[in-house]
Symmetry: C5
Subunit: 355 residues, 5 copies
């Protein structure tokens, strides 16, 4: 039902244990190292941990991006090289953490989420960002190179990213992850719009299932977004180290976006709930239509069948029973009766607004 559940560390294992994770697919890891200062920039793909740790001591700003889920071994050596806190490493290793900000001395650890919308499900994908004096290390659950736009901005000489400190890079990464929710929510919106016309125009039995799934996806998305909003808010607090005042102004803009996404999700949840009601009522309306037709047909033909039944009886006409049968205009008399029954029923139903 929800992939956040699957924690595989045994309860009681020591904190910081990098073991017991369900086997991760064959995803090759992509290391990208970006070394930059105001004047120059150097990008290396597929570097080793050793190369990375060497860069730490240089005065330039270092950004290491790891795309794909790292092995315990790799995380341990990275952790040693950059003095990353074991609890934080455990969170990166097991993935599926809720977004949060942890501050270890002179090091910040941000967990965000970059959900993938699969039509009827939200697949959470963790993004982890460590930042310290002069370096940022970012992790993404999949090998997708989501941070390319930021890298390209670094490559532009004179860009704000080059001019400003490492905290502005943190902002740029967080802002990108936050803004990636807008395309997701546009897809959700399109999906709901489609479901809405489906529910209002031609609801089928699968419509219900689809609305239910859309709703479930929104519940998951809401939970992720709620925590992400909190995380960005936490990043704006003055006591967070390394983030400077000017960057906080930008962070505020980013926070506004998380709030906007949050509100949209809430509206859509309400919409989905309302859609279910609409579906329910519509199906009840259709049934009501069917029943009315049933009732009308029954109301017309039951009395008529009774009439035919009467004249189908075998009482002995000779004994004076059922004189109508012997009348010359008996049959016409019968059809007049039918006409009277039909027209009076018609007007009675008309008055009750059955038509």
């Amino acid at each position: 039902m929800d992939s956040i559940v699957h924690r595989s560390t045994e309860p009681g294992a020591p904190p910081g244990t990098l073991a017991g994770r369900p086997p991760v697919g064959e995803e090759a890891l992509h290391f990208t190292l970006v070394e930059y200062s105001q004047d120059e920039v150097k990008v290396d793909h597929e570097v080793t941990v050793a190369e990375c740790s060497f860069q730490l001591s240089t005065p330039t700003k270092t950004w290491i991006n790891v795309a794909g889920r790292a092995s315990a071994q790799m995380l341990k050596s990275l952790g040693d090289a950059f003095h990353l806190h074991p609890l934080a490493l455990e969170d990166v290793f097991h993935s599926h953490q809720r977004p949060k900000l942890d501050i270890y001395d002179q090091q910040g650890f941000v967990v965000l989420n970059d959900p993938l919308y699969l039509g009827d499900e939200i697949k959470p994908r963790q993004v982890s960002i460590f930042f310290g004096d002069g370096y940022v290390i970012s992790f993404h659950d999949e090998t997708e190179d989501i941070f390319r736009p930021v890298r390209e901005r670094i490559l532009q000489a004179g860009s704000r990213l080059r001019r400003k400190g490492i905290d502005y890079l943190v902002y740029a990464l967080v802002d990108l992850v936050v803004d990636r929710k807008f395309p997701v929510i546009e897809k959700v919106s399109a999906r709901l719009e489609a479901l809405e016309s489906e529910a209002l125009d031609k609801p089928g039995t699968a419509t219900l299932k689809r609305i239910h799934q859309a709703r479930r996806a929104l519940v998951s998305f809401h939970r992720i977004q709620w925590a992400e909003r909190e995380t960005v808010l936490a990043l704006m607090r003055p006591e967070v180290p390394l983030i400077e005042k000017e960057t906080r102004t930008f962070m505020r803009d980013c926070f506004d976006h998380t709030v906007a996404v949050m509100e949209l999700i809430e509206s859509y949840r309400e919409m989905a709930g309302s859609l279910m009601e609409v579906y329910l009522m519509d199906s009840s309306n259709r049934m009501s239509e069917v029943m009315k037709t049933l009732a009308i047909i029954t109301a017309f033909f039951m009395p008529l069948s009774f009439l035919t039944g009467i004249y189908g009886m075998n009482f002995e006409v000779e004994k004076g029973n059922m004189p109508e049968l012997k009348w010359e205009f008996g049959y016409i008399f019968f059809w007049c009766m039918v006409l009277i029954v039909v027209s009076s029923l018609f007007f009675w139903m008309k008055r009750r607004r059955w038509f």
Copy 2:
């Protein structure tokens, strides 16, 4: 589903990017420049940005109103002339921001919303107001000249607007945008009243769709109003620069109005929800009526048809079967049976309160 979604900046674009907006209609821009002091006032329509920026250095108070959505070029030159923050300019450019107050040093940036009620939808239209020492710059998404009442009050010699500082002008603009919700909410109220009598008196299949749409419009309106209430509240905080204490008293009155609107929206949302329930029950009532009629007709004619069926059977009367058929008063006997069946069913139904 909701036009707030459509952000077209690429995730990862540098903040303050004025690009990527969906093409805006052919709306001509209207610049209006109002220069005023306690003693004199000068109004210029259709001025250029250059003329505006010249006025900045004069000791008179300057109010520039831009009706219609500005191009990136125009915004950039305005931004340079008045030192507007790039993040704020981006918000003006892309429009569809949620209401908010941002404070950049010695400059305030207020985003409000002036929604248009289109019968079954709320179309958000952004209003942006920059204010600084001696100037106010206001933007409205459409070319509609909504601020004329304020301009006319400035034209009146001795009016409070002329006597007081630029902060009072900010208040007057905000107050006008806030009060423009009252006519909107009156329309919403009228719509709901109409839907209510429709639902209670003659509900049709379209009623459901209409209630659903009204509800959706209220959800959007609520989201806008919620943020606007927060924004006005933020404007009342003592740390907001330029707004003086006396103006805050007026702002409080304005805040009361946002709260009143908020509460009305909430009542109407609750009403719309309750209307859906009423509709559901009413339609279930009608169906229940139809079913009852069906049951009554069936209950009367089924036994009668059985009766006619019996005397329509062809057992050999000669062998002593079905002696009733040979009776002299057989047919009268049959009608007595019919009478007995009908009247006993009638009293039974009467006792069960089916009529």
Copy 3:
């Protein structure tokens, strides 16, 4: 739908505008002036504004009560005489404000509500109270003399009202308005009790409409009471001028009453919601009963009609078809078949607990 909506001031009008109100009925205004000190008291009915303003300068405590809605002219002269704030006067003029407390320097302005319960609607009626050093001016939307009990307590020598300051008079007025909700809520309670027995015992089509209206009235009442609770709470804050500590103890008692009313309204809202559900289920139960009867009748008579149909067929008996028709006990055989069908259906239904 809700009379609070109808604000008729044009958006953009200067604050404090006393114009544009929908015409008010022919209600004569009643001015009552009460001058009192610990030792003496003087009550004048139907005084003029000029007489009132004269009393302001005397050392005695002055209470002016205005019953009925005042004209712009009258309010303006009152405002000049007592230095009332234009924003507050506007609130009195337009009426239908939500309850609130505004503090202008050395003057308090309390808006309360004295709703009238009209069976299926709550009609809000504004009560406005200005208080300052030595005077209280109270307004009530209608000419009803609701404050007579307080006036009579002032007339009693040695009463607490005479002994204490003007703040105790404010408390007495607020307390009276708050306590006037108890009879209203008793009526609401009686109404709901009546609707409850209606819904449980003999629900009709009008029941639904009545529950819906009762619910709507409660939503309005809730909104008013919520704001009133906030207002009384605000009056208890130490920073409110003129209200002394001892009076705050009494105000607390008054606050307890607003909370009690609030909780009752909330219970009743929940009750009304639950009533709707009960109504829905009950009507579904009744329909279910009807359907069951329909099914039982159909189940009995359909097979029987089939039986009669068989023996009504015209196959040539001579050719050996349908030998039953020639049997001597054919008719008795038919009735035995009927008995078997009826009794086996009866036991089958019995076992399924249809009876």
Copy 4:
């Protein structure tokens, strides 16, 4: 609907009025006076107010318990003897106050509630406790001697009650009233369990009414308990006079109990709401069953009746019409047709999982 409503004081009556209460039954009052110190204890039943007030000046601790509702006269003399605040006395007199804590100088006034569960209703019964330096006066709405367990603990030499101050007695009384909710909630729980099996196993028309009443009782109980929780929390605040730090530790335990009761009530309310849904669905399921049976019977016998109808027609066989009637195996042919119709319908229904 709810006995808390019936306030009989006229709005506008001076605060502290001991009049206008609906006549109270013939309940004899029971005064119990307990005088105790660490070393000795004296219990007097049925004492007079005069005797009580004499005890006030003694150095021993005094506890007066009044079981049954006191007359205005009695309260006034008690009030004079112990300097009880008139507002508090009014609350005792009129009863049906919501639980609260009022602090008058050097005197505390606690209102609690000891509800009686009457199967389908919660009857609130007020408990009022005054406490001051060296004395406690407790009131209970009914003559039931609920405080006997505490009195018996005082009688035990060396008990904590004897050793500690008057604040521990207050705690003991409050704790007892709080703990008396546990048996009540056990009854509620048993009731809901019974209703649950009723709703799931054999729901009748009365089930609905019972669930509705249980829900209403829970709403009342919740309101009382909410206020009581607040009251006990208020008693734990350091600024409450006379309550010492050590007693606050015990009070915390008592607070835990109010929270536990609160949570149980909330769970039960949720349960009751869910029960209604279950009932609704179950009844809809049963109806669905009945309808299915109806549909099956109709589907089988309608085509069969049509068949018999065909061969009951009187077309002239001689003219070559309806040759089947003349066939030798016409009747057997008819029964084969019946078999084919029945079996094909049977398999069609089987496939649609109607059985």
Copy 5:
């Protein structure tokens, strides 16, 4: 309904009473004593209270674990030996307390819950942890040895547990109890997933009951988890004695887990509610299908039966009545009529999308 209800202490009993508990099953108690310092560790199973209390005075860290519910006698001697507060002992004795943290001077008392998921019920099992200077005493309601993983980590030389103080042991125990919720919630998730496919694919009458039970279990679980979250949060407060700053960092990780569990429970509750709606709608859909079939069959065969009825009437053909009966192609004419009726009904239904 809920085992938390059954408090068996009489209301009014003195606090700290260890009596009146319902008889506890024959569960043997298991005492485990762990004595450890950085260098050595000693584990004794099945020790006596006397042996335990002796260890208190040694400089090594002492952890006593009691699995199974202790008798009053045993608790009293433990309480004397370790100076445990009587209120805390009462909570251990009666069990079924909500999770909480109590601080008595220099001693902490944590109550947690280790719920057991029984498919359709959550059985709460209390875990109590006392901690003081150099010792921890833990209790678990059942004899299950849940703390073995922690004991094994202590046995490992050089483990963080050995190196750090007693507060880290407290953290390890709390963390284990918190993490034990993950397997429980995985079971809940699996159960809901199963119920979801049941409700969407083949809902039966038992499905409803099962969803209702799952929902009830979630309500209980939510209540427990809510309090546990609060408890862990309370443990992180700086004013809690003995817990050092470094351990608080670990505690924060533990708190994150409680929040994650909380959010999952809330999602699942929402899911369960939505499942009920899905079930309701699905069952209404199925019924609607059945009704439609009924209506279609009736609509086809009622007119046809009327037709057969007409030609089954016995009007005297000789008198010129019913000439059709004498036609040569009368029977074929009849079948043409049938065809016309059937096909026109078919197209009419097709157009109304009944198929």
